[in-house]
């Protein structure tokens, strides 16, 4: 299926009148997938999702069906499903649109996933800033309770489920699954050490699955149309790489930054960044050229103009030195923007959002921000560039020095910016100029 003839799946109902209501959702065939899956065995649902090749849309791209199978087989007592709606990766807004415009699609996915994982309670963790989402969700949940889509004996199947909406308190770290669980439990959102992984001991020390909102939205469609349909979209597995799980299905790309038409587009996985910008975002603004592009949220690092033909699937960005696809939030930076300023903003964000638990991240993110601040004041030294690289290389889970991945997210922009734009940094420091541009307001 080529992108040109692609009909939006997840965004199919966005823009229709009264798209948030249960009545219109049902009129469009909503909750048929739920009725269908409630008649299946829960293991059949898991197998279907597994076979579809659906990978988590939250950033890490972990196969969803596989994650569900990590739950202990014969467990006494409750299992929990947590929905990660703490969408706080800079540049990302796909969950927001999904929830605001079509909450029932997400909620149907949640009920099916809860059924598949045998969860009896689902916690929807929503970032505090999403007030409209919260109201839309609450309304939808109320409608579901009134129509036997939630609560006891859903649609006469004997299956019970309760959903609780939980609003966070504006912290990036709550998007990390164990940070989210701690926050949900009413504690400081300090990510937990693993093992035990949440599937064994998660929320309230019970087996827990944490899934992203967009992942949930995909589930009803997989139930309705089958695994093969889902695999007809995207980039298939690399036969030469046995560890590649493929990049299947539709994906929401958030485009922002220096483009003519920023927004959210849904496409099959694997479109190149250049096509995305030129064909779907109206090209770079003011007739300029893109200097750098963030492929999937700030923490993934930067791609250069020359790397823009990289396909935006789960493997593409990694091949050009980025951390991964992340949340597929593409941020375009034009050629009139200083990379020093861009990197400073990135570092400032991560220093502000570091939870402060592990020494390398707590001190390293703050230190790198201070160094860039000094460079921007015209007091930089050439040795600062290597120092920044050393700091970036010594924080994060990939060197193994922190508990969660936030430090990797903080390190990758530094690593890629300096590796790919080192000349610009050197020139900036040698010129001794001061940066006139203001730091982005509201970096937190």
């Amino acid at each position: 299926m080529s992108p040109t003839e692609f009909k939006p799946v997840l965004l199919g109902r966005v823009g229709k009148p009264d798209s948030q209501s249960l009545a219109t959702y049902r009129a469009d065939g909503g909750y048929e997938a739920l009725a269908k899956s409630l008649k299946m065995a829960n293991t059949e649902v898991i197998d279907l999702v597994k076979n579809s090749g659906l990978r988590g849309r939250g950033g890490a791209g972990f196969p969803t069906g596989l994650k569900w199978t990590f739950l202990p087989k014969d467990v006494q007592g409750p299992i929990y499903l947590c929905i990660n709606g703490d969408e706080s990766e800079p540049g990302t807004f796909n969950n927001r649109v999904l929830i605001e415009e079509d909450p029932h699609q997400v909620l149907e996915g949640i009920v099916i996933s809860s059924f598949a994982t045998r969860a009896t309670t689902a916690y929807f963790y929503l970032r505090y800033e999403y007030g409209r989402c919260y109201r839309a969700l609450q309304k939808a949940v109320d409608e579901m309770y009134a129509n036997n889509l939630l609560g006891k004996n859903i649609l006469g199947s004997g299956y019970d489920l309760d959903i609780y909406l939980h609003r966070g308190a504006c912290a990036y770290i709550c998007g990390e699954e164990t940070g989210l669980i701690e926050s949900l439990e009413g504690k400081r959102a300090w990510p937990r050490i693993k093992p035990p992984f949440p599937a064994i001991e998660g929320a309230f020390r019970r087996p827990t699955v944490v899934n992203n909102v967009e992942t949930m939205a995909c589930i009803p469609h997989i139930i309705n149309h089958g695994a093969e349909w889902f695999q007809s979209m995207g980039i298939p597995k690399d036969p030469n790489n046995p560890r590649d799980a493929g990049s299947y299905g539709p994906k929401l790309y958030c485009i922002s930054g220096h483009v003519n038409k920023p927004g959210l587009v849904e496409l099959p996985m694997g479109i190149s960044a250049r096509d995305l910008i030129d064909q779907h975002a109206g090209g770079v603004w003011k007739g300029r050229k893109a200097k750098a592009v963030i492929p999937g949220g700030l923490s993934m690092g930067f791609m250069t103009n020359a790397e823009l033909d990289t396909p935006l699937d789960f493997n593409g960005p990694g091949r050009v030195g980025c951390l991964g696809l992340g949340t597929a939030a593409v941020v375009v930076i034009d050629d009139q923007t200083s990379m020093v300023d861009v990197l400073y903003n990135a570092c400032r964000f991560f220093a502000h959002e570091s939870c402060g638990q592990c020494t390398p991240c707590r001190e390293g993110t703050a230190w790198s921000t201070k160094i860039l601040e000094r460079i921007r004041e015209g007091k930089g030294k050439l040795s600062d560039i290597d120092l920044l690289m050393e700091i970036a290389n010594s924080i994060g889970t990939i060197p193994g020095t922190t508990i969660c991945g936030l430090a990797d997210g903080a390190a990758w922009p530094i690593k890629t910016a300096i590796n790919k734009f080192r000349g610009e940094f050197e020139e900036y420091i040698k010129s001794g100029r001061r940066s006139e541009s203001l730091a982005l307001a509201g970096a937190h």
Partner: protein, 568 residues
Amino acid sequence: MVKVKVNDIEVDADPKDNCILAARKAGIEIPHYCWHESLSVVASCRMCLVEVGETKPDGTVAMGPKLVPGCQTPIKEGTIIRTDSSKVKTSQQMTLELLLLNHPLDCSICDQAGECYLQDYTYKYGKAHSRLDEPKIQREDKYHIGEQIALFTDRCVMCTRCVRFTREISGTAELQVVARGSHEEIDVFPETPCNNKLAGNVVDLCPVGALCSKDFLYKKRVWWLKHADSVCTGCSTGCSIQVDQNDNKVYRLRPRENPQAQGHFMCDEGRFGFKYIHDERRIKYPRLKNPPSNANATVRSTAPSDLSFADPWPTVLAEARKRIHSAIQNDPSGFVVVLSPFMTLEEAYLLASYIKGIDARTKLTLGPVPVVGSDDLYPKGPKGESPAAGKVKFTIRAEKCPNRTGIEAILRHFEGSVIHAESLGKSSASAWFVVGGSSSGWVNEKIDQAVGTPSLLIVQDIFPSPLSERADVVFAAGSFAERDGTYVNHAGLAQSTHASIRPPEEARADGRILMDLAGRAGLFNAMALRKEIGTKIPELSAIATGDLGEHGVRLAKFANHTAAAKSS
């Protein structure tokens, strides 16, 4: 036991050990801040990162690709730990540089200097220079954080040991982390300072100079302090402690880890309750009513109320011995000895065997056993309630003396049963030998009335009491810090305590007084006496080895008692 290799040294380790403990068994230190044996693992300081691998069945070694925290990583048969690779060393250097970024480096005025893990690790694993060019973050000191503790906020390395202590051990949860990232601080809620009865432990737990004891603050540089292993006499838990003194003055007590006794901690009552040993009101000279005419009776001008002599002891001891013998001759069954639960085994043994040696009809009794309230169990629940049985991690016992169990064993041996002196009734004997040793209030109304005004009253104590005021002979005795000996705690654990300072003025350690009184040859030697007691008294045979080690030995009768730290 499993075999692990640490830097090529093969060692047997417990499968429950983490890498830090396994390496310790091989004599290798893995530096760490946040990890503490008695607290939960958070693995957040990242100081203990090491390389870990395993030996495959075919003998090849596969090292993990990433550094892992030694505190969090379990070991198994064939685990390989490397702490000396360049990867580990670089990581240690970087972590220390990061920890010192906002540290004020005010070692010259910091109480912790000399026993600071930032200093020690930086010296061993860090580098000499920081590359920070920017101003450091400065933070307000928090003197209000507790009655006994002050927080020097900018010295903190955010290991959160103190926070976890108040949550997991005391259960009072006063301390917490506020703010985020590099602006994090330890703090308390307004109006709720950290004043629980175990609060002093956070000072010991703090690996750096952030949490300081107000009591010890700026009193002494720690490298001048000399240490002696001792036992807290505050309650019958008998916490193992270390007495830190300099120039005959005790500056602080600190808990000494002992899984058999109390674990790692001690309560503030014991920690700060030692001040009485330097009290001016202490009995510093022996006294003698109606001294013999040939005595060199020069009254000391410094203590005019004391009938003291230039060299009082030979005269006082000889006269006391004479009077004891004649009193026993006159009325053997009317001679009562009161042993106090503050005495050591050796002292009680010396006195008991001396008096019973003169005449077996004399009576040995147990003095008042002070009990205040009921046992105080930790961790407390959210509403201050006591923990359930089996969840207890620390106990402050109601019985406020160290050695009731031991003295009772001595009494059972010499007297056959334990007679309580308080139950004897008013003026029930013609001669009394009363030994005290408590800091205050031990002589209660009952014992006062029981003694009455006998024909001979000998008192051996450290503080004046109604009894010492009317005594014929007063022996100026020693406090716990001045005595060698053995205490047996509530659970039958016999621990040895060591003198750290000399008694004030002419006062003498009880053991020395009693050796001389009994006319035994030689100097007081606790070790030799323990061997003697162990061979003579079957109930106390466990101490026959003489050397009780740093953790003590448990009496056979209490063999089923699980160690305090293990039961929790």
